[in-house]
Each structure stands twice: as structure tokens, then as C-alpha cells.
């Protein structure tokens, strides 16, 4: 089946047809690959525990455009928070995308984390391979998943969506895909 997406952009009609089966297929493929990317990154850090992010938030980030914010997390309790939240966040984001649970929320935080990786990795490397890096493409894929929502396609969000708490609080739909 083909659905016609009827919409406007910059005041012009930009309606276009989308083949639904391929759309659903591609959403799931993106979710699984990006989900495994983050789940793997998170689990690796837990398997090699303890994880110490001080080289990244302290050393590497200091001279970058995000330095003033990120270096606040380079010691004390905020560093301990970072050391736990980076692997935990990556693991939960990865799991969320793979099983399709709270998909939009997971993708939002994926894009949030990628923003730090993109600027800090890019700037410390002098953008030696250009400003379009794998980190930026990862960020954009997270943004795409957050925009489209994909959790209800073979995912837990299909069940979460039917829960009374979601029906009673419509804004919760923003967090599921």
C-alpha cells in the first residue's frame, strides 16, 4: 500500500507518496542497528568496569565549544554521575531502540549524547575528516527516529500505547514511538 503524505513546507505543497511496507521495514532496521550500536557501547563499559570519563569531559573537552559546560562534570560528584550515566544511558537507549520501548525518549537522549561526542571528538581532532562525521550522522539518525517514532512497529510501544496511563495522559505519547 502507498500512503500520500500531505503536507506543506515553506508555504508550498510538498505532498509525496510513501510505500508503507518499506517504510515500516526501514524504521525497524534503523532502530535495530542504531540500538545495537549504543547497547554495545554501554555494555562494553559495564563489562570493563570501572568506567572513567575524566579524559573526555576533562581533558579532551576543555578546549572545545562545549568545554565551559562539559568540564563542570570533570571532577567530584558530577564526574561520578557522568561515569555512571554515560554507560547506563547508552545501555538504556540501546535497549529502548532494540525492543521499541519509549522509543522517542530513547532517541532524544541518543541525539543529546551524540551532540557531545560530535563536537568534542570533532574539535579535538581538528575536524580533520571534515565536519560531516559518523557522530553527526548518528545524531541525525537519532533525530530521524525521534521524529518518525518507530517503537510501535514490532515494538513494546505498541503495548505501552494501549495502557490506561497513556490514554489518560496524552502527552506521554511524545515519549513512545
Amino acid at each position: 500500500m502507498v500512503t500520500n503524505i500531505q503536507t506543506q513546507l515553506l508555504g508550498r505543497d510538498v505532498s509525496f507518496p510513501v510505500e508503507e511496507s518499506r517504510f515500516a521495514y526501514w524504521l525497524v532496521v534503523m532502530r535495530l542497528i542504531v540500538g545495537w550500536w549504543f547497547l554495545h557501547a554501554g555494555l562494553d563499559k559495564f563489562l570493563a568496569w570501572p568506567f572513567d570519563a575524566s579524559w573526555f569531559v576533562g581533558g579532551a573537552a576543555a578546549q572545545t565549544s562545549l568545554g565551559p559546560i562539559v568540564t563542570l562534570f570533570s571532577d567530584g560528584i558530577l564526574l561520578s554521575f557522568t561515569n555512571i550515566m554515560v554507560p547506563l544511558g547508552q545501555t538504556l537507549i540501546g535497549l529502548g531502540l532494540i525492543v521499541g520501548a519509549l522509543t522517542r525518549l530513547a532517541a532524544f537522549f541518543g541525539a543529546f549524547l551524540m551532540t557531545f561526542f560530535y563536537f568534542i571528538n570533532g574539535e579535538t581532532g581538528g575536524w580533520a575528516h571534515g565536519v560531516i562525521t559518523g557522530d553527526l550522522l548518528g545524531l541525525l539518525i537519532f533525530a530521524m527516529i525521534a521524529t518518525l517514532g518507530a517503537g510501535r512497529v514490532l515494538g513494546v510501544d505498541a503495548y505501552l500505547a494501549k495502557m490506561s496511563v497513556v490514554r489518560d495522559h496524552p502527552r506521554l505519547r511524545y515519549f513512545i514511538g
Binding site: 515553506l10 571534515g130 511524545y174
Partner: protein, 85 residues
Amino acid sequence: MSELTTTERIGLYGGGALLLIGTVGMGLLEIVAGAPHPVTGEGQIVHETLISLSVRSYTILLGLVLLAAYGITNLVTKPPKDTSI
């Protein structure tokens, strides 16, 4: 997309425009008017930039911040349009 408020237009169009200017626009300018771009054996692009890399970084960053602000504002102020659930 036709019922966007002014604030939403700034977030979506302004953010998208800054993101595109920082990546595509400045990249095109570097190709057309910048120094030659030799590529090393490691695939690194070595050249003097026309526009400072920090200006380019901040342009892209501001674009992403505006897009994020649009998303968060939308979440806080509007109920979802998706009524299929």
C-alpha cells in the same frame, strides 16, 4: 507544517538553516573560495580554512540547539496530534 507559530518557525527553519549553513553552505564556500584541500594518506583533509572552525562549530551547535528547543517547546505546549493511540 502550515500551522506553525513564529516561535516554531524560528526553531525549525532557523535551526535547520543554521545546520545547513554550517555544514553544506560553509563547506561549499571552502571548496569554491578556500585554499586547496589536499587529502593525506590517512584520509585527513589538510587546508587553511576561510571561515574559522570555531565559527563553523558554533553555527552548527546553534542550529542543533534551536531544533532541540523547538522539540522541547512543542512537547511542553501542545498535546500530540497523533490520535491513533
